[in-house]
């Protein structure tokens, strides 16, 4: 299995994502933002960072990149796409995921270990979150719909929703389930030395879509 990790000018966590996939037993390579050819890849990660400086609005410029055009086609064909932090913002901007990410309720960037509950299984994951614009937001009707269709993938555990996300939502999928976006960083939870290994579970979930 080979994963492609997009690299925009201003990406920060793309090498970490490549490293994480390798630790998780897969292969990964960087995909330059001007590449349109995703042949040979089994899945795509849109990584964290500040693509194009996050000018205008987080993710607003990256969504127009040639690589994102290719990712839209890749997702439409059922390929697994994981958006982490800025990648989640990009996927929302691109319309590949529902909703939007607003500035944190306390209006400050915050980096800390958070606990997530995996919807469905109830599994509890300890993963770092680090963002200034991670407050998940969508109209109530849409939130109802997401919950009804099982598109909420992760919620912040009690006391861990520090950014003010609607209904404690930390991550969502598209209707088909092959595109997942979340604000916390599973690629920074793959090594016991740096904190926890709970992030591996997120990568396994994405790999499961392939099977």
């Amino acid at each position: 299995m080979i994963w492609g990790v997009l690299q925009f000018p201003g990406s920060c966590d793309e090498r970490d994502a490549v490293h994480a996939y390798r630790l998780a037993g897969g292969e990964a390579r960087l995909v330059w933002h001007e590449e349109r050819d995703l042949r040979g890849l089994d899945g795509v990660v849109v990584p964290g960072g500040f693509s194009y400086g996050d000018y205008l609005r987080a993710g607003a410029i990256a969504r127009f990149s040639p690589a994102m055009e290719a990712v839209a086609a890749f997702a439409a064909a059922g390929g697994p796409v994981l958006g982490i932090c800025n990648g989640f913002q990009v996927l929302c901007e691109a319309g590949l995921l529902p909703g939007a990410l607003l500035r944190n309720a306390e209006l400050r960037f915050r980096c800390h270990q958070v606990e997530l509950i995996e919807e469905g299984t109830g599994a509890r994951l300890s993963i770092p979150a680090k963002h200034g614009e991670g407050r998940y937001n969508a109209p109530n009707e849409l939130l109802d719909q997401l919950e009804a269709k099982g598109q909420v993938a992760y919620r912040y555990a009690d006391g861990h929703n520090s950014n003010g996300s609607a209904r404690d939502i930390a991550g969502v999928t598209n209707e088909r389930g092959n595109v997942l976006g979340l604000m916390p960083h599973p690629e920074h939870a793959v090594d016991p030395l740096t904190g926890s290994t709970d992030g591996l579970r997120v990568f396994e979930r994405m790999s499961g879509i392939l099977a």
């Binding site: 964290g48 980096c111 030395l193």
Partner: protein
Amino acid sequence: MTVGTPKHRELGLTDHEYELIVEQLGREPNDVELAMFSLLWSEHCAYKHSRKLLSRLPTAGERVVMGPGENAGAVDVGNGYAVAFKVESHNHPSAVEPFEGAATGVGGILRDVFAIGARPIAILDSLRFGELDSVRSRHLLDGAVRGIGHYGNSIGVATVGGEIYFEEPYEHNCLVNAMCVGFAKTAEMVRAAAAGVGNSIVLMGASTGRDGIGGASVLASAELGDGDDAKRPTVQIGDPFEESKLLECCLELLEKGLLVSLQDLGAAGLTSSAGEMASAGGVGIDLDVALVPLREADMEPFEIMVSESQERMLAVVEPERVAEVQAICEKWQTGSAEIGVVTDSGQIRILKRGDVVGEMPVEALVDGCPLYDLEPVEPGGWIYGNRATLAPGVSAEDELLALLAAPSIASKRWAFEQYDSVVGSRTVRRPESADAAVLQLPESGNAIAVSIDGNGRRVACNPYAGTVEAVLECAQNLACVGAEPLGLTNCLNFGNPEKPAPAWQLDRAVSGLADACAALGVPVVGGNVSLYNEGPDGPIYPTPVVAMVGELPDPARVAGSALVAAGDAIALLGPFSPTLAGSELAKQRGELDAGLPTPDVEKVANACRVVRDAVRAGRVASAHDVSDGGLACALAESAIGGGIGCRVDLQPLRERGCSPEEALFGEGAGGFLLSGERSALEDLGAVVIGEAGGTTIEIAAGDRSLVVGLGGAESAWRSLGERAER
């Protein structure tokens, strides 16, 4: 004709310095030349009041890869890899505009590190503000923390540690010192010397605008005072996105071997980078200002030469490789322009569309500035104020809570959670979980630890002893995580060196730094000096900020500072004989005075070795050095961190002659607080003083014995954020 201040004085040059310039040029300088001389002959660039003192510092060592004089120092970490590091001040810009001042401070120090071909892997910051009850201090704190976060987070370099102190003398002149640590293959590192007559000079990165004109001379080399609002245009504006592209571009260029040399543009912009490159290489440089990409078309040649616009680098490139270099710049969407050529003239020539608009000998410009001897005079006692904030006669419990809540001691979580501490996947110990930041280096198969320290109040009490202590504290912090020191860098933040008392402080502090480093066998691989840190009320506390990098073989063995398990023994190790001199308690009581005992460096170094070996062997559960607020605060921090209480008896310190108060809250170098198995601790020669467990911090200290609930201690210690945002 009106008679005003001569132009050279407005630019910060003395009459004597101006005469020297005329003598070296053989004529009066024109405006371009005068602007360039005024910057390179400023304190900030020429180190004219400190260079003589700095020659005292020991700079040689087996592991030194690059020493002072390069963009950053570097030490060998084995397996063909090196770690580069440097600290630099951005004090005055931050005092005028804290967000941009701190942000560009981070941006500048990052460039210094990637200029030598190292990928930045960590940022640390050392910050000083006035007391937290001042509106101005809270404004500066908030702006500086946001600025550091903005730049570091956006560029994807982890901010892994630092320190913040709040003291009245920093009220008008805050300190913002930023440190960057980089990692490189030793063989791929590059120096800043220009070489190869006929080679091209390529300016990369952002275009050049009018921001930051005169920053080094007007802002960094004079005291702050009234009218600082007018200096706001001398503060630069940072763009971390631009720098992120420039960083990746430069690293790719170096990896492909396309650059002969590389230098960042910092203070004094093109003037200093071109001057220093030419000087280091013993060559000349011709630059045509008409070839520099500008933000504003009508900029004068002198403005182009002194602009401090951020996110720019200057490279020397062989002519046949320029096209390849420019293609890579284009890939990274960063600017590049061939603006000049290396010559054998020994002159810096500034041209505008081929016409010479300035011409100066490199040597006169870079090394011609006179170096001054200080005229130090020891002041007759304590020259700073005293303000009692603690009512007389309060209980020992209330004293402990007041110390834990002191902004300088309290948890800095509010600040460090605004920084990305995990990007890069190297951070083994996040802020506050251990005494030093620990970063794993899988490429070289080991890890490094980094610590940054400097307690200005204690240096004010005795500049020599206080500076020795700062070095020892760094060494102790490294020992707590099992690291062996490899090298040290520093930023010397002092008042006006032309005044007798700050001159004396600087002189004594440099001697303390030199002696402590020599005794520990730690080379000084670089440094930065920030003078003229004064406000209307006088100089800041003399503040040598020292930063040390150490190596450890196995990051899995790193000890944290928090207690680990109930039932573990708690022990004290090291030559620790605390006194109240210069302590946080003395400050709160309004009893600060000159004088501080000089620590025994040899004994502390031995204790560091014992702790380091024990941590590496996995023989202790936790290790924490005893620092601000004394042993009681160190115990409370370890207890709060672990969520486990403790019960100890300080009788062993009483036997060393300490009063109950000194045993509890006295400060001094050399103390380690360890926990673990009783027999293992005793084998190390540590004195067991109690045990972990329960939900209270219980300390027997004669008539000052105390019991404080863990919850109460934690609320006091965690109160900084609430007060910072008040």
